[in-house]
Amino acid sequence: MHHHSVRVISAAAAAAAIVLLASVPLEAQSSKTPWGDPDLQGTWTNQTLTPLERPAEFAGKPELTEEEARAYEARLRQQNNADIRTPGTRRDVTVAYNDVWWDRGERIVADRRTSLIVDPADGKIPPMTPEGQKRAAAARAASAAFGDNPAAPEDLDVYSRCIIRSALPRLSTGYNNNYEIVQTPGYVAILQEQIHDTRIIPVDGRPHLTGAVRQWLGDSRGRWEGDTLVVETTNFTDEARGSTFRDATKNMVLVERFRRVDAETIDYQFTVTDPDTWTRPWTVKMPWNKVDGLMYEYACHEGNYGLANTLRSARAAEKAAQQK
């Protein structure tokens, strides 16, 4: 009789457990590392055809229909096709080589938004502050001053010098938009293909570095909010051309959010805040999609003949001008 009671209780308890588990929110059942953190690991790409800002043709239209999306993609792929020549134009030189060397993407974002920017709602970068405008204008003027003839490596931007490609946050570029996320207790690491940098994000609640220490990729601190990795990055540097994101100051604050949606997708968003540059913060949303392939090494400085060639060309052009 006693045993019968215990069996009934156990069965009831088990049934109750099943009912309770079933009512636990979906996020607690998503993929986890062996030590219990949400699992973001894998090889990912943020490549997309969707532009950062909403093009004028889509003003007031935050998303496309399926049909419009496919037509738009076809048009963008055609526009991006580097095999299409415009001989004798500057653009033909800067497009540089055949389409086989490029990988600008095949698709717009899956939710068919017309801009990666989701806030402000018009899909445009907010207006710059007067100081930001002055700074941007000064940067353009400084570049224009030397034009195609830089005096020294430091005239060129961090991209051409193979220091970083690019400042954070990284948008998708013409190729190699690949990331490898590796996690261990206490850290999330993001190995970026360009330029072989590993962003190491502690998730143990430690404070940021002192403001006296600035880094090309800033200083990142992460925390988990439910299934979302929230990363705050500060301590940027403005010591070189292009070392900040779109003419921001070194005091910009970047907040990124990573959430694993399914086996093939990370929902990635970032918000940039810099009251000395933009009149308000702005937010971008773009998926990171699983890559069926591997990370490759992208050594840059080691093979950067182009930098020496550019400087040599500048000196040759000056010499030719003097001899005229």
């Binding site: 457990a17 590392t33 219990g36 502690p202 143990d204 090494e297 400085h301």
Partner: protein, 268 residues
């Protein structure tokens, strides 16, 4: 009847409590808190070798640096990290190493901030961080922001030679064994001009020796340059300062004057 109801309530409460505790368990763990991961040692952390190997992997006495800097860049003596003390060069290669040594301040790829390759990256006088994931291990080196991805899962061969090679790892008991191939031939083993060819094959062994030390071994095979395989051995020490962090040593800008200074515009 009373007892059954009470028992059911207790069982139910236990289940609810168990779920609640599970859901509220802290997600982030302090670094190094997990000394084992998936049944293996957790090698994660910030490590650094304390040796004179980057100046010369062989036993050597103290030497002057470039004279204009006095003692600042002079080189300390070292017991060497090469098992047996000698690097077994083929005769032509021994001569080449001496040529390299004679012009080392000009030729050493470290001066240009080129990625140091394997195993030199391990014993540069800079820290590196191991992040041990579930099927990949990243090693991020402060020097030149060099990085390596060690594939613990099966992957194809590398399509090219790489400055930091192509690394495949596996466990041999508590030792992480990393097989490194596809290494570019332009790195040196040290500042003394010890070198290799594109046939270089390195087998690393990382064995924990206590919570804050790893015993590191690198076996070097290169039939184009050496008469036989040989080995380097050293200890790696955990960086233990509070909130230890790998800071950038982005030396590309530091190398530009040396590399491109002759192409700088001169004032007329």
């Amino acid at each position: 009847m009373q007892m059954r109801t009470a028992g059911l309530s207790i069982a139910l409460s236990t289940v609810v409590l168990a779920i609640a505790v599970g859901a509220a368990a802290p997600r982030a763990q302090a670094p190094g808190a997990a000394s084992r991961l998936q049944g293996k040692p957790n090698l994660s952390g910030i490590w650094q070798a304390i040796t004179e190997a980057n100046w010369d992997i062989r036993p050597h006495q103290a030497r002057p640096g470039p004279p204009q800097f006095g003692a600042l860049f002079a080189e300390p003596a070292g017991l060497g990290v090469v098992d047996g003390g000698e690097v077994p060069y083929q005769p032509w290669a021994a001569a080449k190493q001496k040529e390299n040594f004679a012009k080392r301040w000009e030729l050493d790829p470290e001066a240009k901030c080129f990625m140091p390759g394997v195993p030199r990256a391990t014993y540069m006088p800079f820290p590196f961080q191991i992040i041990q994931g579930t099927n990949k291990i990243v090693i991020a080196y402060a020097f030149a922001s060099a990085s390596r991805l060690i594939h613990m899962d099966k992957v194809d061969d590398s399509p090219a030679e790489n400055w930091m090679g192509w690394s495949r790892g596996r466990w041999d008991g508590d030792t992480l064994v990393v097989d490194v191939t596809s290494l570019i031939d332009q790195t040196w083993f040290d500042r003394a001009g010890n070198f290799h060819s594109e046939a270089l094959h390195v087998i690393e062994r990382y064995t924990p020796a206590g919570p804050n030390q790893i015993q590191y071994e690198a076996t070097i095979e290169d039939p184009k340059v050496f008469t036989r395989p040989w080995k380097m051995t050293m200890a790696l020490h955990r960086r233990q300062e509070r909130n230890a962090q790998l800071l950038e040593f982005q030396c590309v800008p530091f190398s530009e004057e040396m590399m491109y200074g002759h192409l700088r515009k001169r004032a007329n």
